[in-house]
């Protein structure tokens, strides 16, 4: 567990937004599980850090929370993407794509000038 890198704040927000886009309304635990699974268990989310991040996204108006019942009939707060959240996801995903592309070119072997 210790050798798996922690998810840092900036990317966590992006992952949360993407998760909600893919799966629709979901509770905090579900989001945490999903992020861990998608990363192929390579990333470890300290589940606690998720809640302040969710609150931040909610304050910014990218997601909205609503109380509902979970699949096994437990009370849970379900988060869903707002329209602003969708736009933000698009924007961030594009930026992230550019960044990785640049880094990839930079690090590609045999292209030293």
């Amino acid at each position: 567990m210790a050798d798996r890198p922690d998810v840092w704040q900036g990317t966590l927000a992006l992952m949360v937004l993407k998760t909600l886009e893919t799966l629709g309304a979901l509770h905090g635990y579900g989001i945490a599980r999903r992020i861990e699974q998608t990363s192929g268990d390579l990333l470890s989310v300290n589940y606690g850090t998720l809640y302040p991040a969710l609150l931040k996204l909610e304050q910014e108006g990218y997601i909205a929370g609503e109380w509902g019942l979970s699949e096994n009939n437990r009370k849970a707060k379900f988060y869903s993407l707002t329209r602003a959240g969708r736009k933000q996801l698009e924007r961030e995903a594009r930026q992230w794509g550019q960044t990785t592309e640049i880094m990839a070119r930079f690090l590609a072997p045999g292209e030293r000038s």
Binding site: G28, Y47, G48, K56, E58, Q59, E60, N72, R74
Partner: protein
């Protein structure tokens, strides 16, 4: 946008804490996780443990969540303030003393600052005040009758207005006293004659109707109009818009009210408070009694106060330089043809030379101009200095109290530190408490200041009216107070905060707060500083009180008992020349007939009221040196005036009824005059030639009267000349004095005296009714005010110092209770213990 929204949500989050929601969300998270773990085959206990570990601790998550929900530092601040408020509520005695100390200190500062701001600091509420300058005519211009220092003759003003290129506009004004009749009521008030461009140059509009336009001041006698001051319109006309277009009688001249000037505008002289403005072209009509002076074409009378608006980028120096050729041309026109008063050809040449050396000066006037400013500047600065000392005392006092309290709480603080409290946070708590104290003190201080200013303004005499100052605190004053509060709070708050933060946990806990805590040396220094400051304040107060006593016991030269005085303005109501002579004769007869009056007299000018009337004179038998100032303090008085005022004649005789008809001009001079110009010889029988406002007359000295104070009580009497009121062809009596029978109280005569004046003409206003004792009292009112205030501040300072000293000693004794108990158990006598404490007190001084 998003960020702003997030911040707003956080601000909201500080007040809408949904703790229940947070707990529920985390619980549901754990339940979901446990359920999954159970499905994966863990035992219930294992499942719960794993879930908790994965979450990272319930309380930690909640704390991180809370930090995100609100704004942490503001949350803390609110907590600190709440904590501070609780502390203050728990120690009402401490709080009351501290708040009162601060209220006195801050209140005194706010009160004096309010006055200082208005008299000395504030910019005029006009368009771009920084560009305004005053243009004065400086130097000796003999042969020109001057109605005020630095004024210009109207033709000179016109030249500057039309030709000076450094200015965007040049306005002129002249203060006048007026008698205004509207409806059934006549009143005496301050007004201003202003040039037609006055409002345009200042950029001041009208609240109602319109103001004057540039052309309005041009044609002599052509603009019988008036603009009312806003406050006066509110007060006298009840803000009635219908007054525009109505006719008022000003000095018996009908004028049409064309408008009301903008709210907040009080003119260039903030203290004069002119209530009505009249086109300067109406000067002669309205001010007729000195027709020679109020003449727009007269180059030999200077009476216009001139202000100019500098063009952008032009400095006062450049403007002044640009005026020089202008004045040169004026002087070259006027110098040769003018009969310079001064006797011998050498003297005339000297005066002409001086006239050629006169110059225009341009000085900044963004704050307007006021004679009162020069008069009150020093007292106000001195008072400001004193109140700063008082505030310093108050701050030291509260610092001391806080230190004592901090010492008493040192164990609590040590325990909190031991439990891991953040020192910085402790300091902030202490500061928050100080901030609360200052705010409370500041609020009480502002209330105190409003009240104090009202009293102060009422106590300062200024002419016949009280100072036209606004005592309500405005934003500027409140900003000042807030700044003072912040500074004070830091001053007295930092010390205790710092000493709380430096507390040594181990010693404090071990010694049960018996010693060390509260830093007694620091507190001793504070108390010593207080004692020093209060001594300083007392010394200052003492010197003011002493100079006041000196003025009070001074020989004024007149006897003030049983003399009632009042002012009238019959000349303003159209009594001129023969009618005036008749009027005053009748007036004195009626006054003498009032029961209880033994003598009545009239003079042109009230004495010891800040007025000065100088007239240059030639004295036969005295050869004046070239350039010698032959201006004599002047007054025109009726027979019996000296008897009423109790000024004995030391030689010759008083004016007599027979003089009036004799055609032979007579004068009386004072002792100083006689000594100065005749040395050991007798002055009686010599001729003097007063050049009274343009007319030269030859009169014979028939008597010498003992010296008495003239303009005020401070200055020694100048050389004086009195002319006979009854001989004047166009007398203007303003100061009436009656001697009452010894049985009658002068102040009880007011009603019957007023009635006597009304019985001749009810439209002549009577004002400034006061006994001569009150008059003398008024003339030292500023000194008295400063002395009383200084004494008051001294007492406040002493009380504060006493409170501080008491606090320190009470604390020291409390700290040594055990020691004293042991001493007494071992046989020390009470006296010895008292001695011990007394020595400690003395050591603190």
């Amino acid at each position: 946008m998003r960020r702003a929204r997030a911040w707003w949500m956080r601000v909201v989050g500080m007040f809408r804490r949904r703790e229940g929601d947070l707990t529920a969300e985390i619980e549901s998270h754990l339940e979901l996780h446990i359920a999954d773990n159970l499905k994966a085959g863990m035992s219930p206990e294992q499942a719960r443990r794993a879930a908790l570990m994965k979450l990272g601790g319930v309380e930690q998550v909640k704390e991180a969540y809370r930090d995100r929900r609100g704004i942490p530092w503001m949350d803390h601040l609110i907590q600190d303030l709440k904590y501070g408020a609780r502390q203050l509520r728990r120690n009402p005695g401490f709080t009351v003393v501290a708040v009162l100390s601060l209220a006195l200190g801050i209140g005194a500062n706010t009160a004096i600052f309010t006055l200082m701001d208005q008299v000395l600091l504030r910019l005029l509420p006009v368009k771009d005040p920084q560009a305004l300058t005053r243009i004065t005519w400086e130097g000796q211009h003999a042969g020109v009758a001057s109605m005020g220092a630095g004024t210009l003759p109207y033709p000179y003003y016109r030249e500057v207005r039309d030709r000076a290129e450094a200015f965007d506009g040049v306005l002129g004004q002249s203060p006048v006293e007026l008698s205004l009749a509207y409806g059934a009521h006549t009143e005496h008030l301050q007004g201003e004659l202003v040039t037609g461009n006055y409002f345009e140059v200042l950029g001041v509009g009208a609240a109602v109707g319109r103001t004057f336009r540039a052309g309005d001041g041009e044609q002599a006698g052509g603009h019988p109009q008036a603009v009312l001051d806003y406050d006066y319109w509110m007060e006298r006309f009840g803000a009635d818009r219908g007054v525009v277009g109505k006719t008022i009688l000003v000095n018996n001249v009908p004028l049409t009210v064309i408008g009301v000037s903008a709210k907040g505008f009080v003119g260039m002289d903030v203290a004069r408070g002119a209530k009505i403005r009249i086109p300067i072209s109406m000067a002669k009509e309205v001010m007729g009694s000195l027709a020679q002076v109020w003449n727009l074409e007269n180059r030999r009378a200077s009476w216009v106060e001139v202000f100019g608006r500098l063009k952008p980028e032009v400095t006062t120096q450049r403007a002044q330089a640009s005026l020089t050729p202008l004045l040169r041309a004026l002087i070259e026109t006027d110098a040769p043809g003018t009969s310079f008063f001064g006797g011998s050809p050498q003297q005339q040449e000297y005066a002409r030379q001086k006239f050629r050396e006169t110059y225009f000066e341009v000085s900044p006037a963004a704050r307007g101009y006021s004679r009162m400013r020069t008069r009150y500047e020093t007292p106000l600065r001195v008072l400001m200095g004193l109140v700063v000392l008082v505030l310093l005392m108050a701050a030291l006092n509260v610092a001391n109290l806080l230190l004592a309290r901090g010492a008493a709480r040192s164990r609590e603080i040590a325990v909190r530190l031991a439990l891991g409290a953040d020192r910085w946070r402790l300091m902030r708590q202490s500061l928050a408490e100080s901030a609360l104290l200052t705010l409370l003190g500041g609020a009480a201080g502002v209330a105190l200041a409003v009240w104090a200013d009202r009293v102060l303004v009422a106590l300062i005499p200024a002419g016949d009216d009280h100072l036209q100052l606004n005592t309500a605190p405005d934003l500027r004053v409140l900003a000042f107070t807030l700044a003072v509060c912040a500074l004070t709070g830091l001053l007295f708050g930092l010390l205790p905060a710092w000493s709380a933060a430096r507390l040594d946990i181990f010693t404090t806990v071990r010694e049960h707060g018996r010693s060390g805590a509260g830093n007694p040396r620091l507190r001793r220094v504070l108390v010593a500083a207080q004692v020093f400051l209060s001594t300083l304040l007392f010394l200052a107060a003492g010197s003011f009180v002493r100079s006041l006593e000196n003025l009070k016991t001074l020989d004024t030269g007149f006897r003030t008992e049983h003399v009632e005085t009042f002012s009238i303005g019959a000349d303003l109501n159209g009594y001129r020349n023969e009618r005036a002579v008749q009027y005053y004769r009748q007036l004195l007869e009626r006054l003498r007939a009032v029961p209880g009056v033994s003598k009545a007299a009239i003079a042109s000018m009230r004495v010891v009221d800040g007025d000065w009337w100088g007239e240059p004179m030639r004295i036969e038998g005295y050869a004046a040196a070239p350039g010698e100032n032959m201006t004599q303090a002047f007054n025109i008085v009726s027979p019996d005036y000296f008897a009423v005022m109790g000024e004995p004649l030391i030689e010759g005789r008083d004016f007599q009824a027979a003089d009036a008809a004799s055609g032979h001009g007579v004068a009386i001079v004072n002792e100083t005059f006689a000594k100065k110009y005749f040395g050991g010889r007798s002055a009686v029988g010599h001729m003097v030639m007063p050049y009274e406002t343009g007319v030269m007359r030859k009169v014979e000295i028939v008597g010498v009267v003992k010296d008495s104070r003239y303009e005020n009580l401070r200055d020694t009497p100048p050389s004086q000349v009195f002319l006979d009121f009854d001989q004047h062809p166009d007398p203007a009596g303003h100061f009436v004095a009656v001697k009452t029978d010894t049985g009658a109280m002068p102040s009880s005569m007011a009603g019957s005296l007023r009635e006597a004046v009304r019985s001749i003409d009810p439209n002549v206003p009577v004002f400034a009714m006061r006994t001569m004792e009150e008059q003398v009292d008024r003339s030292i009112a500023t000194e008295r005010l400063v002395a009383w205030l200084a004494a008051g501040f001294g007492i406040v300072a002493a009380v504060l110092a006493a409170v501080g000293l008491y606090g320190l000693m009470a604390f020291n004794v409390a700290r040594r209770t055990t020691e004293i108990g042991v001493r007494m158990a071992l046989g020390a006598r009470r006296g010895a213990v008292t001695w011990l404490v007394q020595v400690d007190i003395l050591r603190n001084q």
